[in-house]
């Protein structure tokens, strides 16, 4: 007869308990990083609104609308796609990676805890960016209930794609490089902060299949009226990316070594 523990490792109760443990674990582990990351996100969000407006010496209303709604997407996905992989890369460098996955919790709870942390870091920056944009540009924003699923699916797919990259790619240096290229591509070459018509045809065609344009579409659709059409397709593409990312992550993490 064992005396150490009577808990069964299964069931909803165990899962929920593990999830809360993992959120606490991540928060404690990142206790120095989280406040700085939140500050960086706020600075980036507001900085983009004021910076682009400053550089171009004022924006026309359409450009301002695209920039304002786009920056919200940028603040939502940079945490999951850029910061997240870098944290995992650091765990791999410090060789704490294997230890983390040896913790006695369901691995889905670790993934979900990570998603929660991403939300905690990203949402303040998003709100500040929205407020800064509304104040600076006097935007015709029409906030509809569809903004809630839009934010959730954007945050979820961004985090999951970043998660998949971080776990599938073994080398920390390669992960770092990919995340740098990613931020450059998101900010400069993705139709998030500007309309997709500004891109050359081949690049616009590529973005029909990448997640970034569709993230911008669903979020913009939840904040404006008459600017975005074909949201069903966007949701479908984002769901597709999430499924692929989850499958890839599960294949790597679920494996026993």
């Amino acid at each position: 007869m064992t005396t150490a523990s009577w808990d069964l490792r299964g069931g909803i109760g165990y899962w929920w308990h593990s999830y809360r443990q993992m959120v606490r674990w991540e928060l404690v582990g990142l206790r120095l990083v989280v406040p700085i990351s939140v500050a960086v996100q706020i600075l980036t969000g507001a900085g983009f609104i004021f910076g682009i407006d400053l550089l171009f010496g004022g924006l026309d209303p359409r450009a301002a609308l695209f920039l304002s709604t786009g920056v919200i997407v940028v603040t939502l996905i940079t945490v999951g796609l850029v910061m997240g992989p870098q944290f995992v890369a650091q765990q791999k460098t410090e060789q704490t990676y294997d230890f983390l996955w040896s913790l006695p919790v369901p691995r889905t709870t670790a993934a979900l805890a990570w998603l929660t942390i991403n939300g905690i870091i990203a949402v303040p920056g998003m709100l500040v960016a929205l407020a800064a944009a509304a104040w600076r540009f006097d935007l015709p924003l029409v906030i509809s209930p569809s903004i809630a699923p839009a934010i959730l699916v954007t945050l979820f797919s961004g985090t999951m794609v970043g998660y998949a990259i971080a776990h599938v790619v073994p080398s920390p240096v390669a992960i770092g490089l990919i995340s740098q290229v990613m931020i450059f591509f998101i900010l400069g070459f993705s139709p998030i902060n500007y309309p997709i018509d500004n891109l050359p045809g081949w690049l616009a065609g590529l973005h029909e299949w990448l997640p970034f344009h569709h993230m911008a579409q669903v979020v913009r659709g939840g904040l404006t009226e008459g600017v975005v059409s074909g949201m069903a397709r966007s949701y479908a593409v984002l769901t597709g990316w999430s499924v692929v990312a989850i499958a890839a992550t599960a294949a790597v993490l679920g494996r026993r070594r």
């Binding site: 900085g47 550089l55 171009f56 010496g57 400069g188 070459f189 500007y194 018509d197 500004n198």
Partner: protein
């Protein structure tokens, strides 16, 4: 009979006096070889990343706005090469020092028996050379994309060199002065952010409010853009002498701080 100090020092195992121009040049040459050898795997990547970054910068501004008037296009085309120089000194140099501190090779490097200034100059040489292909490619891509005619003069040579010397010096001084790698990393990111979004490099300073413009007349970024722009265009950049002065002042200040930090005995 007298022997020259270079031949005999009287100390076993040491056959040279550790001073003089010759010693200094030898030290510089050795450090140059050392730097190139230790970076041999990263160097091609650095150069390629520089080229992609610069060309990417030049292109991405065009996506944000489709119809860019010719003057704005000229500003972007002449500013993009400067945006390609700045990261080399101000971000690659600190990153490298941060990496050395993490790997704990930092102290070893400065214990090598060469003049410390020779080590610094060798670094400067390597990083200036890394930045040059990026500058050229960026300029080419921008001129092609925005279809502008540049009036390139020899003035661009001192402008680019001084900008590079200045950038490396400033990057050096804070990478060496800030001992905590994570803090240095944060400063690096803040600089990139400030340079790309809040500096009149690829945009006219007239777009900036007066107080902000005056800040930029003292900071080095606008001065870099001005001197390089003067070497590439006619009549767009005025009062360049002042910009050269500002740049020189920053370069001297950066090298002085870096030299003090590096020269300190620990």
């Amino acid at each position: 009979m007298t022997a020259s100090p270079r031949e005999v020092t009287g100390v076993v195992g040491v056959d040279r006096v550790r001073s003089g121009t010759r010693w200094w040049i030898d030290g510089y040459a050795s450090m140059l070889r050392w730097d190139v050898a230790s970076l041999r795997e990263q160097l091609p990547f650095f150069v390629i990343i520089q080229m992609m970054l610069g060309a990417g910068m030049a292109l991405m501004y065009g996506f944000y706005f489709t119809d860019i008037p010719p003057v704005a296009a000229t500003y972007i085309s002449t500013g993009a090469p400067v945006l390609a120089i700045i990261p080399v000194g101000m971000t690659m140099v600190p990153s490298l020092v941060i990496q050395q501190r993490f790997e704990q090779t930092y102290d070893f490097l400065w214990s090598l028996p060469v003049p410390r200034l020779a080590t610094m100059l060798s670094n400067l040489t390597v990083f200036t050379l890394i930045s040059l292909p990026g500058v050229a490619i960026t300029l080419g891509v921008a001129a092609w994309r925005y279809d502008i005619d540049l009036a390139v003069t020899w003035d661009v040579v001192p402008a680019v060199l001084l900008s590079s010397v200045m950038g490396v010096a400033v990057g050096f001084s804070f990478a060496h002065a800030i001992r905590e790698p994570r803090l240095a990393n944060l400063v690096v990111n803040l600089i990139i952010f400030f340079v790309t979004l809040f500096s009149p490099i690829a945009f006219p300073i007239e777009n900036f409010p007066e107080w902000f413009a005056s800040v930029h007349r003292v900071l080095p970024f606008y001065a870099m853009a001005q001197t390089v722009r003067e070497g590439l265009t006619e009549g767009l950049a005025t009062d360049v002498a002042r910009s050269y002065l500002v740049l020189t002042a920053w370069a001297v200040a950066g090298w002085t701080i870096a030299a003090r930090v590096v020269g300190r005995r620990s």
